[in-house]
Amino acid sequence: MRTLDVRDLTVAYGAISAVRSASFTAAAGKITAVVGANGAGKTTVLNAISGLRDVRAGRIDMDGQDIGALPPHERVRAGIAQVPEGRRLFGRMTVAENLEIGAFVRQDRAKVRQDIERILVLFPRLKERYRQLAGTLSGGEQQMVAMGRAMMADPSVLLLDEPTMGLAPQIVDLVLEAVQAINAQGVTVLLVEQNAYRALEIADQAFVLETGEVTLSGSGEELLSHPRVRSAYLGHDA
């Protein structure tokens, strides 16, 4: 179980800062939710953590170790895995091949086999689709493969970017249950969601991102009942 600690993170696209001096912690073994409107900078934060986006300032620590200077592929070895926004599977590869390539950084063949089995237990639907091209799967199935692929790296911190986007309610349940199951295995989860209500429901901790700044934080329950969250993200009158 690893803690992810982000201090004074600033990320800019040219002259515009998409994230401004954001600080937050994803506590070890917990689910931390990030809530915010479109364009608030949620994806930018995740990409900065995984290294896909260069940061202007700030520290990204894992258990006190600064990983901010590592290139993205080495952060995977350090234990960070990302499920990207929009899934981005390798559409021309089969489900099996997508899962296998998720284990690229690992050498322990036997353990990798076991982990594939575990993912097929987590998402039984993928068993029937195992040899199908990922590009031909339904949105829900693709999300399952995307999560499975990330889990194949055997991460200690999992970054999830809007995993329920565009999914039917039953599938949303299924995906979020899987997130909890993964978390129960000891994986620290940082969950970005549009679906604020569902995210806060399962989150231990949460914070609100507004135009690149962390404006509120607390436990999931606290934010669920916070008047500003209720009016801005849950569609209730304050």
Binding site: G51, P72, H73, R88, M93, I101, F104, T136
Partner: protein, 556 residues
């Protein structure tokens, strides 16, 4: 996928012209194409070579094909619009007639208007070539052109509407086989000359296949195709059974080819093997890792110049070592130059990479051409007197011997390619090609993986350059033009990106065939171009696509 559904439903919705108007339109377009074909001088040039000895020249076949296709397309349109077959065939004849009329007009204009001052190819020679036994410029010739146009168009139309699908396929295949057999007379003739009893002369005349053998061949192909279809054998291409049998046949042909044919064919085969080497190199870069490289020829040059400097007896020689020492040095140097060039270039992506590598290729060519480096590399004078490789005391001199040298290298490179493709690095390349960001987020180091691809590709090109140097016996800067890179690229596209057998097929089609049609001069590039465009329409995945491409096309 969903996109495809949209486009195909568009196709259905698109309003089609009425069949008669469409036939006229097709006929006129085809007619203009036929006239252009004549006026650029292609007809006269291609008329020198017979497909069927004394019956049909290649030029005549090409013109006939234009009328046939016009008829076929018109009839198919009429058929779709529910016209009766008779009417469809009539319309097809009309389309063919339009082609004939265009040609007739051209003949009339050539004989009566003296348009030759503007159009050099509108010459008496052209008119004579188009007489087919009538008198040049006579009304007989005009009538013949019109009648032949109508007849061919109608035949094309009948093929489209009256002939059942199976028979049609068989006939088309038969025609193609005969054309192929006639056009590549030199190859088959030299193979047949190994047979006793003057079989070669019985089958082939001096310019093409003889009439009776052509008819027999056609009948045999048609009969075989129909019988096979009747026996219920699914088409091999569909079962994938093609791969095994065709690979065996291909390998067998490749192994014995230079032994049973002429030196000329062996020489062509050698060139094909050389381009295969390069093709497999670029296949690693482009086919597997997705790196567009238009400067590929640079590494070919590094390999060639290394061997030249090391194996030459000329004034520029720096060491007089054997080819077997120089070859590994050339390969290593090419790989290293791949690394050195790769470092700055590979951080750019996509289109910019194409431009950067293009520049790189040109830099190398300019360097070897430059006066500054002339004392070392010979400038435009090149490096001459390169020793042939010596194996067990025998100097490899004949085209066949050098062919086997190139072939063995190609085999080794194919094996290495195949192993790499299925190794860890192969999967990394694939992932980078598909989505570089995601690949990084899965722990793949894109810069390192690309560098490996780039330098392995460069090493293969270096090997090709090394063979090229001893093959020709000299190297000159003009051998390392951009066109070489483009040719290699075209081989991959035609053969099928990422596919090893595709490289072989692509090299044979794009390098071998045009080389064998050398006497057509510049006009063979016309067919080269037509073939490329046709390919992109008919088989965009390539002649022998990679497994992954095939899968994608299948579910699209």
């Amino acid at each position: 996928m969903s996109f495809n559904v949209v486009t195909s439903s568009f196709r259905v919705v698109r309003r089609e012209r009425e069949a008669g108007a469409e036939a006229l339109r097709i006929g006129l377009i085809a007619g203009v194409a036929a006239v252009l074909f004549c006026l650029i001088g292609a007809y006269v040039a291609l008329d020198k070579r017979d497909v069927v000895e004394g019956v049909a020249s290649f030029a005549a076949v090409a013109l006939a094909a234009i009328a046939l296709v016009a008829g076929y397309t018109s009839a198919a349109t009429a058929n779709r619009q529910g016209r009766t077959p008779r009417r469809a065939v009539l319309l097809a004849g009309g389309a063919g007639l339009a082609v004939g009329a265009c040609l007739a007009l051209m003949v009339l204009a050539t004989t009566n208007l003296g348009i030759r001052t503007i159009l050099v190819a509108a010459s008496p020679a052209l008119v004579r070539a188009l007489t087919f036994g009538t008198t040049a410029g006579s009304s007989g010739q005009i009538f013949l052109l019109l009648a032949a146009g109508f007849g061919l168009g109608a035949i094309g139309g009948a093929l489209a509407t009256l002939v059942p699908e199976r028979l049609r396929r068989a006939i088309i295949r038969g025609v193609f086989v005969v054309i192929f057999a006639g056009l590549f007379r030199d190859v088959f003739f030299s193979i047949a000359s190994n047979l006793p009893g003057g079989v070669d002369r019985m089958i082939y005349g001096s310019a093409g296949i003889r009439l009776w053998p052509a008819i027999l061949l056609f009948a045999a192909v048609v009969a075989w195709t129909i019988l096979r279809a009747a026996a219920g054998k699914p088409s091999a291409a569909r079962t994938g059974g093609r791969s095994k049998l065709s690979i065996v046949l291909l390998v067998a042909t490749v192994l014995v080819l230079p032994l049973i044919t002429s030196d000329f064919v062996a020489q062509v085969a050698m060139l094909v093997a050389l381009y295969m080497l390069m093709g497999m190199g670029l296949n690693i870069e482009l086919g597997l890792a997705g790196l567009v490289d238009l400067g590929f020829v640079a590494f070919f040059a590094v390999g060639a110049y290394t061997v030249a400097l090391l194996c030459s007896n000329g004034p520029l020689a720096i060491a007089d070592v054997s080819f077997w020492v120089a070859l590994p040095v050339a390969i290593v140097l090419a790989a290293v130059s791949g690394l050195v060039f790769g470092l700055p270039v590979l951080r750019v992506r996509g289109d910019y990479l194409a431009m950067a590598t293009l520049g790189l290729g040109e830099i190398v060519r300019v360097l070897v051409l430059s006066d500054a480096l002339a004392p070392v590399l010979g400038g435009s004078q090149g490096i001459i007197e390169i020793d042939r490789p010596v194996l067990a005391g025998i100097s490899l001199n004949t085209p066949a011997e050098l062919y086997y040298l190139a072939l063995i290298l190609a085999g080794a490179v194919a094996f290495i390619s195949w192993r790499l493709q299925h190794a860890r690095i192969g999967r990394a390349w694939l992932a980078i090609r598909e989505d570089e960001d995601v690949a990084q987020a899965l722990g793949i180091d894109p810069v390192a993986s690309k560098l490996v691809a780039y330098s392995v590709g460069a090493a293969f090109a270096g090997a090709a350059g090394a063979v090229f140097a001893v093959l020709v016996g000299s190297v000159f800067p003009h051998s390392f033009q951009l066109l070489v890179s483009i040719n290699v690229l075209a081989i991959l596209v035609i053969g099928g990106l990422g596919s090893l057998p595709g490289v072989l097929v692509g090299a044979m089609v794009l390098i071998g065939l045009p080389e064998l049609l050398r006497e057509f001069g510049e006009f063979r590039y016309l067919f080269y171009g037509v073939a490329l465009v046709a390919m992109m329409h008919i088989r965009p995945e390539g002649l022998w696509p990679a497994e992954s491409t095939k899968r994608e096309m299948a579910d699209a």
